[in-house]
Amino acid sequence: MGKFLKRSAQGAGVPHEKGTSNLATVVMPLPSKIVLSMNQHIGAPAAPQVKKGDQVYVGSVVGKSGGFVSSDIHSGVSGKVDGITTIVAPNGAVQTAVVIIPDGEQKVDPAIQPPVVTDLKSLQNAVRASGLVGLGGAGFPTAVKLAPKNLDEVDTLLVNGAECEPFITSDNRCLLEDTKYILSGIKTVMKYMDLKQCVIGIEGNKPEAIAHMQKAIGGDSSITVKTLPCRYPQGAEKVLIENCTGREVPFPGLPSDVGVVVMNVTSIAFVGKYLETGMPLVTKRLTVDGDIVKEPKNVEVIIGTPVQELLDFCGGLTDEPGKVLYGGPMMGNCLADLSQPILKNNNAILAFSKKWAHLPKETNCIHCGRCTNACPLGLSAKEIVQAYQDGNVELLHELNADLCMSCGTCSFVCPAKRPLAPSIALAKIMMKNGGKK
């Protein structure tokens, strides 16, 4: 009730649908080919370092980072480069991609060896070389997060294990299966960034993972587990920071402005594992689920595997697909076709029937205010959408429409079924363009 009259920020009671949470991760066999997009992260695309016919090995660099905010791309198979092509990304952008045909030997690149980390600089370099990007979904290059401008003021590492999206359980499996690496990753980052405390935020619908982590932490008082309420979107960075530390990230600003570095649980586990093995980011744990997936699974899959082959590994589809999603149903993107590859920041592939994909008809706004009271950031979706329809850019600025993170809570709770979140996304574009739709 502390927030009463300030910001109700109720969030949404989204369905959990975590049917796969008890399914241990299985490793998918080699696919027939891998398609490596050169843009699997926020920032500049990577530049292909190979040409048709080149031999590559597991862990070989295929794409070279295109700038400070960018990331290397590595091969997850040994084999021959089949060619360089273009693919259409989920957001509609056309991207360069390298196609590799595996030779089945899975020979590891001889250059792969555990990195030597002695200080923060060498940790940043190692993480940069690993190709790690924010695995929670945003795909923000992790090395950049480890190099905040105000390092002295940063005191807290926040590990995001909220996993608030329905259906997805890959982070839950990570918490249960990669515990050792999570803790070694946390300790390394805390040591070299000189952080005082670490909070692992886990939504209350994962009691097993919470108990498991608490047990694994043991007597270490610098690491605590915070049980988060089951209200979407607990995993949203700013919401997580406020709930775990009571700090409000200023806008515009970064978590480091309030002394926090946020990493997804899968990212931190990867850091732990990478420091031990030196193997770059070439595989990813995914939840494959949805009403038409025959055998829902948690799968460890080589990045670049075509979605069709992953679905085939899960027994195929029981009905004609309506929608297939990269990620969860709240923020995930639709695939245009099943030949598209798995990306670094995917944490689920969800396939749904046509019936499921059908959304109810939009009706008039009844001003119930549910969008406003649910918005985790305190925005008023109905006012923003009205201002957008009126072309009132000044009002959009006043309403801070650009603060919106597109979590979809407003659309979800709307009883009139209005597509508020996509409209706000358009409003943000209008703000950038200074008034043109």
Partner: protein, 313 residues
Amino acid sequence: MANKLIVTAAPHITDNDSTQKIMGRVCLALVPTLVASTIIFGLNSLILTVVTVAACVFFEWAWCKLRHKDIPIEDLSAVVTGMLLAFNMPATLPPWMAIVGAFIAIVIVKQLFGGLGYNFANPAIVARIAMAVGFASKMSSYPFGGGVDALASATPLAVSSELGASNYVTLLLGNHGGVLGETCAITLIIGGIYLIITKVISPIIPVTYLATVAVLSVLFGLDPIVQLLSGGLMLGAFFMATDYVTSPTTDKGKLIFGLILGLITMMIRKFGTMNEGVSFAILLGNLLVPYIDINTRQDRLGIAKKKKEAAAK
């Protein structure tokens, strides 16, 4: 490509709740009061309610048909308006007057302003006020005793100075003179609590409204329990003031709205020439909603803090 996939913007799921379900719950919450009024005032209550609801739904259908708009009657909002409007009429009212009221509510107040979500004031309130002015004598002859032949009696508010504590039970049960849906406080409270539990309405408006009335009654030297339980206050506080379209959005706004309604109601009751202040209070409150809304927005995460810091510097 053999099989085309559907591509839409996220999110891909929505809540199970809908406008229709919300309106349905409001109707359900009004049913106990309808039953009570049928017991108190006789079958005429039920007939008048059915006529008003049917007229409201008909006008909504006919207007949208004539204007070639989508016909939204399945959203049940016209049913809610019809029920609320009927609850504001005495059981002796001739049905044709109820139909005129339905026309005012649906066509003039709601559809002419753009339909559901665009009306500036609560349709049932405006229709009630228009009828109170237009059909003054019929609208204020309150029957009691189970039918049209009963003698008209004054509402408790008109004679509240003569009422003692022994009459609280009478007020609670509603077996006294008044309009259909206002007399039985107990069923209105049950309906209101049902709406709060099912999260159709927030408790903030009714609670602040009723609390303000209670406090002001004490200050004005009136019996607060009589003031709370009589007149249109319970119906107004739980069902009319909480109408989404014509009440503020945020918690802060709702609190202010409740205070304003309580203040206007008690001012009219104490100093006005009319006994009943609830309808006018809600109408005046409705007109203030846009101004309340733009001045009571929530603090946005990370924005307020920055402003405060800037102010400190």
